[in-house]
């Protein structure tokens, strides 16, 4: 018998001789693996809530759009905050490829981060517009409209042609200029300042 086994046997023997209430305390169960709280989520319910779009295109709905279609929607729904061409503001500037060389954002606080010069994944354009835009009526755009706006913004940023159709198949294949600039956090605590 192992030492732990001997100890266990001894404890059981002691507990057996103890009053009932002490024995119960000795054998109080730990937390259960499951509390069986909550209720199963129905597939339809998940589908209704799950708006996620991933970089490989999982989650993109049926539908499509082009830059020409997107230009009209942008004028109506977006230009008031982002400017007539996505450059002027007053809120986030969406369009611009400067600087053309390098990725000097860490050295120059005056550079404006746009979809064209900073965003690493084209799918994020769809995901974010679909979630959160327009600011005063998020969730009000239909898939075709979101695709069209994504096409318009990618075209304005000189990443796709004005004739390109953006849909669930083509959007994940759009390669963004800043795609390879991102690295994982290497801070680990300790004396080094990173």
């Amino acid at each position: 018998m192992t030492r732990a086994g001997i100890l266990r046997t001894a404890l059981v023997a002691v507990a057996a001789g103890a009053p009932a209430h002490v024995r119960r305390a000795d054998h109080r169960p730990g937390p259960p693996a499951h509390y069986a709280l909550g209720r199963p989520a129905a597939t339809e319910e998940i589908r209704a809530m799950d708006v996620t779009v991933m970089p490989d295109g999982i989650g993109l709905p049926a539908g499509s759009g082009t830059a020409v279609q997107g230009a009209a929607i942008f004028r109506q729904r977006c230009a008031r905050c982002h400017g007539p061409t996505g450059v002027e503001g007053p809120f986030d500037r969406l369009v611009g490829r400067e600087p053309r060389q390098g990725f000097p954002f860490g050295r120059d606080a005056s550079l404006v981060r746009t979809i064209g010069n900073y965003w690493p994944y084209a799918t994020t354009v769809y995901d974010y517009i679909n979630r959160a835009m327009p600011y005063d009526a998020p969730g009000s755009l239909k898939p075709n409209e979101v695709y069209a706006l994504a096409a318009f913004l990618l075209w304005r940023n000189e990443i796709i042609a004005d004739t390109a159709t953006i849909d669930a198949r083509t959007l994940p294949r759009v390669r963004m200029p800043a795609r390879d600039r991102f690295v994982v956090d290497n801070r680990r605590g300790g004396p080094e300042i990173r």
Partner: protein, 414 residues
């Protein structure tokens, strides 16, 4: 009917009657005391007007007009008045705010949290179900990762601790451990990340590594003993101790487990850190050790020479603060401050440094060290590591200039 003797309707009525009787007796005694036939005597020195009644909900003393400062073009931030607070807990109504689509109004009876994706049992929890799990309560700071930018660039002499670093606050948070929920839904071994999505208008979403969920993540439904404030995510939020505020998703409505991150806007376009070498750091979750002196600090003035308590807050997203050093000569020499108890991991820690002001100019600084041995860097050190264009994680040493007249201003020359 009418011959029934009138009875006190309740205990309060009875109490009122006794008070009236008692007061009449007291007046009688007072008349006797001053001598009914003599002149009125001056009231005794301990005389005080009767205080007001108890109230259902208390309010601050009229002279205590502490408040947040609201900012941002869309009024999307408010800052905690650090210079007006004591100890480590931030009153819930003064906790800083940062939201991306306004303060959501969620009906607690309609609220649900959906957990799905790479889990064995996709499950919906309502608020009552969440509260049936064993509760955990912990004190933790929250900090917007953009907090302190005005200590890094565009510095101003006339900024208070609230305007420098008011996007951090500490609360006692109560909720259910996310690790408990992971067991409940049976998260699959392949799952390495989950999406945390809020129920605000913009469905704010961040990807979080599953290790954090297994470590100390919490779905919090209470703050400082009561339900969360609406602006803190009522009725429930994700709490990731020590991690940048944005990842602590408020009005949490959905956790989706996957084998890779989702690359949302707020972890690509925003909340990434371009570095001087032409790369940009992603998923820079942890808030490094930091401290700020909250007194003396602008707009306070030292009214006299002599002893003053230099005090402030220190915190680290990696664990406990182990020491805070204070310099009164702009960093030439440092002396350890006293850390007030409690000193808790990933929580504001109050420090105190008794200082005898001799009436001459001085530059006050604080420097925090955490349990990993990380020492809060100087502005020059941080700029060398991060460059001048960085937007988040401004944890460099802050300095206050004390003038010969006792005025205190933020030091803008690094």
């Amino acid at each position: 009917m009418s011959d029934q003797p009138r009875r006190p309707r309740d205990a309060a009525d009875l109490t009122r009657r006794r008070l009236v009787a008692g007061t009449a007796a007291a007046i009688g005694l007072a008349m006797l005391d001053r001598g009914v036939l003599g002149q009125a005597a001056a009231p005794p020195v301990h005389s005080r007007p009767l205080g007001r009644s108890a109230t259902a909900v208390g309010v601050r003393a009229p002279n205590e007009r502490i408040q947040r400062v609201v900012g941002g073009a869309l009024h999307e931030i408010s800052m905690t008045p650090l210079q007006d607070l004591h100890g480590i807990v931030t009153p819930s109504d003064l906790h800083y705010e940062r939201h991306h689509a306004g303060v959501a109004a969620i009906d607690p009876h309609q609220y649900t949290l959906l957990i799905h994706g790479m889990v064995d049992r996709p499950t919906v929890f309502d608020l009552a179900a969440l509260k049936r799990f064993p509760a955990v309560s912990r004190f933790h700071f929250l900090e917007c990762s953009g907090n302190g930018e005005s200590a890094y660039r565009n510095m101003r002499r006339d900024q208070s601790p609230q305007l420098v670093d008011g996007l951090t606050s500490t609360s006692e948070w109560t909720g259910v451990s996310v690790a408990t929920l992971l067991r409940e839904v049976g998260v699959q071994p392949r799952a390495t990340w989950f999406l945390a999505e809020g129920g605000d208008a913009g469905l704010m979403a961040r990807s979080i590594p599953v290790e954090k969920a297994r470590d100390d993540a919490m779905i919090a439904y209470a703050q400082n003993g009561e339900a969360l404030r609406p602006e803190q995510g009522y009725p429930a939020r994700l709490l990731l101790p020590g991690w940048e505020g944005n990842t602590n998703v408020k009005w949490i409505r959905r956790l989706e487990f996957a084998d890779r991150p989702f690359m949302t806007r707020d972890e690509t376009s925003k909340y990434t850190d371009p570095l001087p070498n032409g790369t940009a750091r992603m998923f820079s979750f942890v808030m490094d050790a930091k401290s700020i002196i909250t007194f003396p600090a602008f707009p306070a003035t030292l009214t006299d020479r002599g002893w003053w308590d230099v005090t402030g807050l220190a915190w680290s997203g990696r664990g406990r603060i182990t020491r805070v050093d204070v310099s009164t000569n702009g960093g030439q020499t440092w002396s350890p401050a006293v850390l007030q108890q409690p000193v808790l991991p990933k929580c504001h820690t109050r420090f105190s440094f008794p200082w005898k002001w001799d009436g001459r100019e001085a530059v006050l600084m604080s420097r925090a060290t955490d349990e990993t041995g990380y020492v809060q860097p100087t502005l020059a050190q941080l700029r060398a590591a991060r460059g001048t264009g960085t937007r988040y994680h401004f944890n460099n040493i802050r300095a206050w200039h004390v003038g010969g007249d006792g005025s205190v201003t933020f030091r803008v020359d690094g």
